[in-house]
Amino acid sequence: MSSTDHHHTHSAKAAPDPDHHESGASGSQPAKSSGWGVFLFFMIGFVGSLISGWILFPELLYSKKSQPIDFNHSVHLDLVDDGCNSCHFFEEDGSFTGMPDLSKCVDCHESAQTDDPEEIKFVDEYVTPGIEVPWLNHSKQPDCVFFSHSAHVMGAGMSCESCHGDIGTSEHTRVYEENRLTGYSRDIWGHSISRLGKPEPGDPLPMKMNDCAKCHEEETGHKGACFQCHK
């Protein structure tokens, strides 16, 4: 804004400009804000935020990553004897191993068994140099969370699928959507950004604290004390 403009504005305030007033009275478009105009802009903002909140926001919040290797659960599940337990098992102290480390894979994959490019990539990039695969964990919880697989699987007799969905029959890895703010997977919050409605059958269950508490209340009659799930 130049100094002249500045001056002009100042004088306009001191004495209303007659031209300005006249053009307002001519009725083409009122320079005064109209009720409809306000409503229109309100609606632009309203609808815009609805669109960005429901559609753009989730797109922006999550970055999309793919697993280092496109793992085929289905093929493996057909080959192993003990279902999920064959690779995801309990130690004798009751702790759960989670994702198997390379030593488990090497049993079969010391060299490539097929000409699948993903398997060849796995052998060349990880098995041969002895580097652990940096799998992206859809169920990873913050450090303050204590979760006991044995309490749920052994104690409550729950199946893997009841929380993790039917990942065991998948032929490809899913896109890993990482929350840019927290660094955790979208699965924890649940795919539905509104958390309204139930997940599709076969989808993993959301794993927020409220989800744990809700299930605990239903199944055991109380939410449980803080230390039950925190460390």
Binding site: E92, G94, F146, A151, M154, C226, K231
Partner: protein, 272 residues
């Protein structure tokens, strides 16, 4: 919830510390530091900002040489049951964030660091100085982060922390029991022990379920030499002390000259 008032039948984990056996060596403190990822600073001589989940205090009978006597007093969190009914621990009742909570299944007072926003009401409410505030972010110099245990979450600046009776060890013991298809309610006495009890080289610390007749603490707490700290406040601590020395037992509370230590215990028993 039905278990809320089941004082006699729920588990109440507690500790009996035999002060006659405590040599003041400090092993319990170090056993605790290493178990619970307790941080340290270059200067730890200001004990008000030094983080200890169990701290060994030194008591003296105040008599001149050579009649002087000293006794050591290790103080973890007393895991107060609270006055009258369970769960009314001084700290739990003042926390505005539900960051500290009473677990009715074990009697252990929890502290969730990520929930705590550092108002320190609980520290003011605790009559035992059991709670410590993180004035600084913890730093593990050189390669020391490599020895941290994944069982206990490291704390950040601005939160309160305290002794958890090594609750993670209870969780791990239950993990094992579930895996072995055992009743987790029937954990053996040796399956769940705190790090300080294990580290004490003279065996002065006994840990177990105060309600379980087969646990050593059940009998020990009824010894004529047993006392608790500030019993008159009726915080109902689950940490008991044993001392054959009357002057030590007297220091457990602010007794008047004509009062005998142990008097308050009777009040406590009437209460329940």
């Amino acid at each position: 919830m039905k278990e809320k008032n089941d004082y006699e039948h729920s588990k109440r984990y507690g500790m009996v510390i035999d002060l006659d056996k405590c040599t003041g060596c400090g092993s319990c403190m170090i056993g605790c530091y290493t178990e619970n990822n307790v941080p340290f600073k270059a200067d730890e001589t200001n004990k008000l900002d030094s983080i200890n989940w169990i701290q060994v205090y030194k008591l003296t009978n105040g008599k001149p040489y050579p009649e002087t006597e000293i006794s050591y007093l290790p103080m973890p969190c007393m895991q107060c049951d609270g006055e009258g009914k369970l769960g009314h621990s001084p700290c739990v009742s003042v926390c505005p964030a539900v960051a500290t909570d009473y677990d009715y299944s074990t009697g252990i007072v929890s502290q969730i660091y990520t929930r705590c926003f550092g108002c320190r009401y609980c520290m003011a409410a605790c009559p035992y100085h059991a709670r410590k505030f993180n004035w600084w972010d913890p730093v593990w110099p050189a390669d020391m982060e490599k020895y941290l245990s994944p069982d206990v979450s490291p704390r950040m600046r601005g939160v309160v922390e305290k002794c958890s009776f090594c609750f993670h060890r209870y969780q791990l013991a239950r993990n094992k029991a579930y895996y072995e298809n055992r009743q987790t309610e029937e954990l053996g006495e040796d399956e769940y022990q705190t790090a300080c009890a294990e580290a004490c080289p003279t065996g002065a610390i006994t840990f177990g379920d105060l309600n379980n007749k087969s646990h050593a603490v059940y009998q020990l707490k009824n010894s004529p030499n047993a006392f608790r700290l500030l019993e008159r406040l009726e915080t109902n601590p689950k940490v008991y002390y044993l001392s054959s020395k009357k002057w030590v037992r007297r220091q457990g509370d602010n007794y008047l000259a004509n009062e005998e230590p142990g008097l308050i215990k009777k009040i406590d028993k009437q209460h329940h």
